[in-house]
């Protein structure tokens, strides 16, 4: 298969960003306590481990570019806050010797940190087996990447089947199938409504009554497929940049953590000094970066249908938002909050007149429910 597929997968792909700095943030690793395994001034090659989890050292973050480590910021107890690398050149794919099963491959090459669990939105435990794996191809960036590398996506999806006994479901907004349906690989191609992964999860394999499902971006599956299929480690990711008027300015190619301030200036944004590409981020809209409003008194929830439609379970949306506002974890669990993660609440926070930041409120409730387990 590998000889059939061209090595330069995106010869005319979106323009690549060559960042000044690459910042790997520890806050992109929910549920982990990362510690650094490089020192300031060290030279790193592509794929060199940069940080790993304290309790489970197998989970690690690798350098997405070759270069020199210029800063390692640590907090209490050697806990890393961020590692900043100055790249030696543009990020490009490199051949590696891929050994081991899917789990080992993903751990060794730092792809494991892209996986997220539902409920609770954590980096999963390497020993666990989920009920199902949902692959997110809902964004424009994921679709473009999948269309550019259909073979790698197929390889990746088949490799993911080894992590679970259940189905591996590729979620896309209608259109032509991005990958063939075979074995336990399933496709969910619901017509192009603007729903998110929470809607798909709720419909396909809800975790509100127990169980665990993992989600990942289609680009991670493509990277995994590249590793298994052709032994290529290809860290650059596609990302959509949004203009201040809310339209998509275009796709860019950037390594994880790469500074996107230059590209954002081109798109018409002015106020940013640096803006690293966060993990699993496929769409940059600086309006979403604004700090959540301070904890003040919240206004009433005006129960309009547009607000209920932002959440997958139409029936329970308003009672769930009420429960989140007052921090009632048990009621929120009954209304199905385990299917949701912080990112799903953005639309609700934007529409609701109460001024609540439902992402933060949901995180608080999920933390409480996770502690009770």
């Amino acid at each position: 298969m590998s000889c059939l597929e061209p090595h330069r997968k995106r010869p005319f792909g979106p323009p690549a960003i060559v960042p000044e700095t690459v910042t790997l943030e520890a806050r992109d690793l929910p549920g982990l306590r990362p510690i650094a395994c490089v020192e300031e001034g060290a030279e790193v090659a592509l794929g060199t481990p940069v940080m790993h989890d304290r309790a489970r050292p197998a989970i690690r973050v690798v350098a997405p570019v070759a270069g020199r480590v210029v800063r390692v910021e640590t907090g209490l107890g050697r806990r890393v806050i961020r590692v900043v690398i100055r790249p030696a050149g543009p990020a490009r794919a490199a051949p590696v010797t891929a050994v081991g099963d899917t789990r080992e491959l993903m751990l060794i090459h730092g792809l494991w940190c892209d996986l997220r669990t539902r409920p609770f939105d954590r980096v999963p435990d390497p020993e666990a087996r989920p009920q199902a794996i949902l692959v997110n191809a809902l964004d424009g960036a994921a679709v473009a990447a999948a269309q550019a590398a259909p073979f790698a996506l197929g390889h990746g999806l088949r490799a993911l089947c080894r992590l679970t006994d259940g189905p591996v479901i590729l979620c896309q907004h209608g259109g032509a199938a991005l990958a063939p349906e075979e074995g336990r690989v399933e496709l969910d191609t619901v017509a192009p409504r603007h729903d998110g992964m929470a809607h798909r999860l709720r419909r396909l394999c809800s975790v509100a009554h127990g169980g665990e499902v993992w989600t990942l971006d289609a680009q991670t599956a493509i990277a995994l497929g590249g590793l298994c299929g052709e032994g290529l480690f290809d860290p650059p990711r596609l990302v959509e940049i949004v203009t201040p008027s809310g339209e998509v300015a275009g796709l860019r190619q950037a390594p994880l953590g790469g500074d996107l301030a230059e590209a954002l200036k081109e798109a018409g944004w002015t106020t940013l000094a640096t803006r690293p590409l966060r993990r699993n981020e496929t769409r940059i809209d600086p309006r979403h970066d604004a700090a959540p409003p301070p904890d003040g008194a919240l206004g009433p929830i005006v129960p309009v249908p547009a607000l209920a439609a932002t959440l997958p379970m139409r029936l329970r949306a308003i009672p769930l938002l009420h429960a989140l506002q007052i921090g009632d974890a048990e009621t929120a669990r009954r209304h199905g909050c385990l299917d949701l993660v912080e990112g799903d609440m953005r639309a609700a926070s934007a529409i609701c007149a109460s001024g609540a930041d439902y992402g933060t409120l949901l995180r608080r409730v999920l933390d409480e429910l996770e502690d009770e387990r």
């Binding site: 309009v304 547009a306 139409r314 209304h335 529409i351």
Partner: protein, 264 residues
Amino acid sequence: MIDGHVTALRKRAARDATALRLIALAPPAVILFLRAPGTAWPNALAVVTAALACALIFAELRGRGPIFEALVPALLMLLFVPPEAAPWQLALALSLALVLGALVFGGAGFGFLSIGALALALLAFSFPPLVPMVPAAPVLWAALPGGVLLLLAGLAPWRVVLAGAAGFALAAGPEGLGFAQAAPLAVLLVYFAADPFGAPVTGPGQWMSGLMVGGLIALLGAPGGPGFDMSAGVFAVLLAGLFAPLIDAGVIAVSDWREGVRHG
């Protein structure tokens, strides 16, 4: 094109709820002024002063709180009061309704009743001959475009309105129906029964609440009387509003129970 505007309107509806509801009520209020400026002015002055004063006092006490929401029940009251009501009576009933129905709960939106209906009911309780009345036909017709706006924006749950009409038709029977009752019934359902904060929030709950309002209007209405009995409508809305939280809780309990059965 139109579809896009409606989507934008629905997305903004929650943030602009007060403005949209006031816009919807503006045309009938203007018609009311044009028809009888002499009686409208003192009444308007009384209700607006009372509403803003109550809201301001509570906003000052709590250190927060929007105040213009109180104008919505004030305008509703202005439209449906009998002409013989004195301004001070209106002010008193409205203040009582605002404080008991909304402000003691934390402001508009935290209570569970339609404040307009509560104000009219308190007026009828406190000063027995003053029962809510159906306004003149031009005023009523002027309220209908605003009602459509509220339905489109999602600020009036359409299920309540539809179920209310169905409930009224079922309970009143074929002889009780007439064209004269359609407009007042529609206005009552959209502006009072489908109050965004007073109606249930679950879909089945909204159907039930609407059926209850429609049925109660027909049952409580004066038998054989010509035209539409507004006081029956107001009390029906109030009664259904009292049950709205219970209906919601029941719907959620039933659906929890069904999910529990499905998941063992």
